[in-house]
């Protein structure tokens, strides 16, 4: 193919594309239908999460939760040490402990030097930013929080300073249909990030 052929081909495609670039305008009725459906569908994830719900607990469950939190204290240090492997490195790790019965406490840890605020979002809190804050651990930019989670597969990510979305580099990644990257944690008999 000569340069002239290529040029002619590009011009031809541009003429076709120009026809297809003509704008399309939807009428206001479309907008009304969309907004009526949105209202009927209910709120966003956040609004759903804020709806009242009932939490039931039993003495056995309370005992199991207490055992889980105690165990977390013992393993939390391990998680932080793993994460601080490189000087000044930023990385994340989620460590999990399998408690007795049905309650599992998972410790989420993030190394984010210079961060002012770190939260974790996931299916367990309705992806609500600000609902679950991590607390600073020492003065090295390490943040941590422990959460009781139900058994099964969970998706999560961290949000730094209310803006930056950070998936866990040490866990299995999942890109959802909206292009958002999050991390996968399986809680159960074998509790491992991304296992």
């Amino acid at each position: 193919m000569t340069d002239q052929d290529r040029e002619d081909g590009a011009e031809f495609i541009e003429r076709v594309a120009r026809v297809l670039r003509a704008p399309e305008v939807l009428d206001d009725g479309f907008e009304r239908r969309v907004m009526a459906t949105v209202r009927a569908d209910g709120g966003s994830d956040r609004a759903r999460w804020r709806r009242p719900f009932t939490l039931t607990s039993t003495p056995l469950r309370a005992l199991a939760m207490a055992a889980g939190f105690a165990a977390i204290v013992a393993t939390g240090t391990v998680g932080v040490q793993r994460m601080l492997g490189g000087p000044g490195a930023e990385g994340t790790v989620a460590t999990a402990v399998n408690a007795t019965d049905t309650v599992h406490v998972v410790r989420f840890v993030l190394a984010a030097a210079g961060a002012r605020e770190v939260t974790v979002v996931g299916d367990f809190n309705g992806w609500t930013r600000g609902a679950t804050r991590l607390a600073p651990v020492g003065a090295d930019g390490v943040w941590s929080v422990s959460l009781p989670l139900g058994a099964g597969r969970h998706e999560y990510a961290f949000v730094v300073d209310g803006e930056r979305w950070v998936a866990d580099p040490l866990a299995l990644r999942h890109v959802d249909e909206f292009g958002t990257e999050s991390s996968i944690l399986r809680v159960g008999a074998e509790v491992q990030p991304g296992a």
Partner: protein
């Protein structure tokens, strides 16, 4: 009136402000309508798909990682909804698209020669396999870069370039002599 940034509207909508989401619908409806109409070859189908995309976007607004890039995030949802719809429509596609294009050309008030050319171009586009049609539209009609297309579709750059080339070749075969120089 000063244009309120997407980021601010997304934050407000996440707090339950439905009118903020309405402003986003108003801002993006026509921009994505063109892609959906060209992709599906039917205005009615495109409206259904866009409605579904907006409802899904509202439902999952908390998962919009970068609210300042809401438009790009929504575009990905629209592309996915179009794919799902086109797959479901399957074998009925060719007949429906042809019927819709004929109806649209009857209602068009432009000069007959322009109407005919537009109709032929849209029919040739509709005859392309969906993945080639999608790549061609994103590259040449939405005028995205390949980097943006990779982000939007999840496909590799070389695969996308191949799709655009094959789409262009097939359109040229069908439309040579019909699309005028002007």
């Amino acid at each position: 009136m000063e244009r309120r940034p997407d980021e601010s509207l997304v934050h407000a909508a996440r707090q339950g402000d439905v009118s903020a989401f309405g402003a986003l619908v108003h801002r993006y409806r026509d921009r994505h309508a063109r892609f959906a109409i060209r992709m599906l070859g039917s205005r009615d189908d495109a409206e259904d798909v866009l409605q579904s995309a907006f409802v899904r976007a509202h439902r999952h607004l908390a998962k919009c990682g970068d609210p300042a890039r809401f438009g790009a995030w929504l575009h990905r949802i629209v592309v996915n909804e179009c794919r799902t719809f086109a797959t479901r429509r399957g074998a009925r596609e060719q007949r429906l698209v042809r019927d819709d294009l004929l109806l649209a050309s009857i209602e068009d008030e432009s000069a007959p020669a322009d109407v005919e050319m537009r109709s032929e171009v849209q029919h040739a586009l509709a005859a392309l396999p969906a993945d080639l049609r999608e790549a061609f539209l994103l590259k040449h009609v939405e005028e995205l870069s390949y980097a943006e297309m990779v982000e939007l579709t999840g496909a590799g750059e070389s695969a996308l370039k191949m799709r655009v080339k094959r789409a262009s070749d097939q359109l040229r075969d069908q439309l040579e002599g019909i699309v005028r120089n002007d």
